[in-house]
């Protein structure tokens, strides 16, 4: 790229085609930030317990730190505080001091860039270039300097798109790289990442990680990253800090050392430590698995808003879903996996081909699941949605779990027995009166599975059940599903998670690929 070329894809005269000295582009004068916490603590307003307390630590300029700890140890609080977005005295009580380059963190904005977990809630503007420019504008960077910075940031994160490309058409991984570019354009001395890859598919994870590494090599900025999938970052960072939920630091040192000395403890706290993979459950396959649902040349699609006919995203799908058998559907983003799951679940009408239940499975109602009434689905097909929040209906966990059994017209005694057992089994007892929306990520996932199991459907449909889950929830989920399979429940799951496939799958259907693979018992 020539050093002084005008901006490509510039939209009309409002974006000036400025010529910038090449020194500015190649050698940004970024000073890496220094962090010092002295007996620092924070209590969110209205909460009884400290989120963080008694924290003493020092991070040198240019260091790359992975921040670990059990859920609730205050990792996010610390990172938000460093980014200056925790708020003021109204939002919580601060104790001790947290300094960036000797200034209070809340006053060091602009020195610090933050990328959060959810790709969808970080895009600010409608066009790629405008979105990256947003931070620069807020820090009053002169217009002539903004566009070269935007272009450079986009190059660094590997987003080779026109500046007027709509942000709404980006994939999750691209959105996270866009958020990163928006931060890099501000030229921060400290880069903060709060689980930036938790919601991404494997390809997206690597793209984002590599973009971060590339930009750090270029800028030399200090990095603090929170991520419970240690594998992704262990070769990038040179130091691991483990926060203690009871206050202060539990362990702090070189990556390799901390991961081996604290590995067991971290794994128990739900951190994915590569040397300590979760155990796979032992399966007891049933004898003669009968076919419950058969897809033949099935085409799936959604009816776009305001249209009458579905636009097909995948077709020619042929497979059987059998009792006691786990079928996983894999494939690249946009291949139509979720749409297929919703169709198999009887929630969307097939766009073509046939999807028919066996006589035994349909038991006296039409063979096509999409024609079943809502209540008739309950004992036949249970669906676990990708976002658990979408399936919560009641104000407390117990009431929500009771909805299915009540709709089935079970006796009150039977209702409470089933729900009581499930809450106990999934460690939700202590949350019976809590609002489902206030649960943690792992609790929400367990709860969404419980709502489905409460009506004992013969087929379970799961859409990315292990997305963003810590290793502990993952393990519990896999064991629970293995039990259901052993009891003869059929299972079909859409997933990107290779470990989930290894742990449970009997058959794999690759969407967007030529043929499906049948995994025998010995293949597992």
């Amino acid at each position: 790229m020539p050093e002084t070329s005008p901006i490509p894809h510039g939209r009309d005269p409002r974006i000036p085609a400025v010529r910038v000295p090449s020194a500015l582009i190649r050698n940004p004068q970024i000073r890496a930030a220094h962090i010092r916490a002295s007996d620092w603590g924070w209590r969110h307003a209205g909460r009884h317990n400290q989120a963080v307390s008694g924290l003493d630590l020092q991070i040198e300029p240019g260091e790359r730190v992975l921040l670990l700890g059990a859920s609730g140890a205050g990792k996010s609080t610390l990172v938000h505080a460093l980014a200056g977005v925790l708020g003021d005295a109204e939002d919580g009580d601060e104790t001790g001091s947290l300094l960036i380059d000797g200034h209070r963190a809340a006053e060091a904005r602009g020195r610090v860039g933050l990328v959060l977990q959810d790709p969808d809630s970080q895009v600010v503007l409608a066009r790629v270039g405008d979105d990256v420019a947003f931070g620069c504008e807020n820090f009053a960077v002169p217009r002539a300097e903004i566009w070269p910075r935007v272009r450079q940031a986009l190059t660094e994160v590997g987003l080779d798109l026109p500046l007027d490309h709509p942000t709404s058409s980006l994939s999750g991984g691209q959105k996270q790289r866009l958020a990163l570019a928006g931060v890099l354009a501000m030229r921060p001395g400290l880069l903060l990442l709060d689980e930036p890859t938790a919601n991404l598919d494997p390809g997206g994870v690597i793209d984002v990680r590599d973009a971060v590494v590339r930009s750090l090599d270029h800028s030399g900025a200090t990095l603090v990253v929170i991520e419970h999938r240690v594998e992704v970052w262990q070769d990038v960072v040179d130091r691991v800090i483990v926060l203690d939920p009871t206050g202060g630091v539990l362990a702090d040192g070189p990556t390799r050392e901390i991961l081996s000395s604290q590995g067991e403890r971290l794994a128990q706290a739900g951190v994915w430590v590569p040397a300590r993979p979760p155990r796979f459950p032992t399966r007891h396959p049933i004898r003669h698995p009968e076919t419950l649902l058969r897809a033949e040349g099935l085409a799936v699609g959604r009816v776009p808003f305001g249209r009458r006919t579905a636009s097909v995203v995948a077709d020619g799908i042929t497979f059987d879903l059998r009792a006691g058998t786990a079928t996983v559907v894999t494939g690249p983003n946009g291949a139509g996996k979720s749409t297929l799951a919703l169709t198999l679940a009887g929630l969307l009408k097939p766009a073509g081909g046939a999807l028919r239940a066996s006589d035994d499975f349909s038991a006296g109602i039409p063979a096509e699941p999409h024609r079943w009434r809502s209540k008739q689905l309950l004992t036949r097909i249970g669906t676990v949605f990708q976002d658990p929040e979408h399936q919560f209906l009641a104000a407390t966990v117990r009431d929500d779990l009771l909805i299915g059994p009540r709709a089935l017209g079970l006796s009150v005694a039977e209702q409470s027995t089933r729900v009581g057992d499930l809450m106990h089994r999934l460690r939700l007892d202590h949350l019976a009166d809590a609002n489902p929306f206030t649960l943690s990520g792992g609790e929400k996932r367990r709860m969404s599975v419980a709502t489905v199991l409460a009506t004992r459907p013969r087929l379970l449909v799961l859409d990315e059940p292990t997305f963003g889950q810590d290793s502990r929830t993952w393990q519990e989920l896999v064991i629970l599903l293995a039990e259901q399979l052993d009891e003869g429940t059929a299972l079909v799951a859409v997933t990107h998670d290779a470990q989930f496939v290894s742990a449970l799958a009997d058959e794999e259907y690759r969407l967007g690929m030529p043929d499906s693979i049948r995994l025998g018992a010995d293949a597992r």
Binding site: P16, G182, L347, L393, I403
Partner: protein, 264 residues
Amino acid sequence: MSLLTPTIRPSVVARLNPVSKLTVALIVSCALLLSIDWVSAGVALLLEAALLFWCGLGARQFWLRTAPVWIAAPMASVTTVLYGEDSGALLWQFGFISVTEGSAQLGLAIGLRVLAIGLPGIVLLATTDPTDLADGLAQILRLPSRFVLGGLAGLRLVGMFIEDWHSLTLARRARGVGDGGGVRGAARRFFGPAFSLLVISVRRGSKLATAMEARGFGSDEPRTWARLSRFRAADAVLVTIGFVIATTAIGVAVWAETWSFILA
């Protein structure tokens, strides 16, 4: 093509500053709201029609976008003819429905008015990019950037509402409460997801606010603008045309003695 990044064909009107387009729409609307008579609305509509050729909308797009106005105008017109205030000679009567010279004229005036106010509004909107409008509002009209950009960012969440609503409805069906229950059931099926949608949206909105704050938004420091929004000579011409349309419409109506000032 989406709400926030509409596909806008390059045209004379599309290149104009959104603020000047907004001003023109306001001037014409205000002038036409001062009176209810068919001459002023008719003259304004005629003059606007000449301008619409430069808007760059294809025929199909034009009719699609403006369809609501074409439906609303005759309906408002017919309603006024049948039920409007009667005056002058009685033309037709059926029960308490009566059509008089006065109500027919009023109906025509109302119908033309809906068209004359609605059409330019929709056409100008269809050739305006929301981001450009926000730039103009903040840089030319000097509206507070916090308010303008906050609104623009919030608009982006609207598209996600539709996705969420779809998932929430499917989830209700999956959980056994997706049908049945008569009217009460239907009401519950609407208000239940509406509440969940509210919770999910508020949550998403606050996350967006954090992300914006982390990028320096909302401080009291002055900010710069990456995109320059300027009021050019062409914009001045457009605003002048707006004034000419408004004054001509009023002038012709006064001359034809149909002008009836609503506040008089």
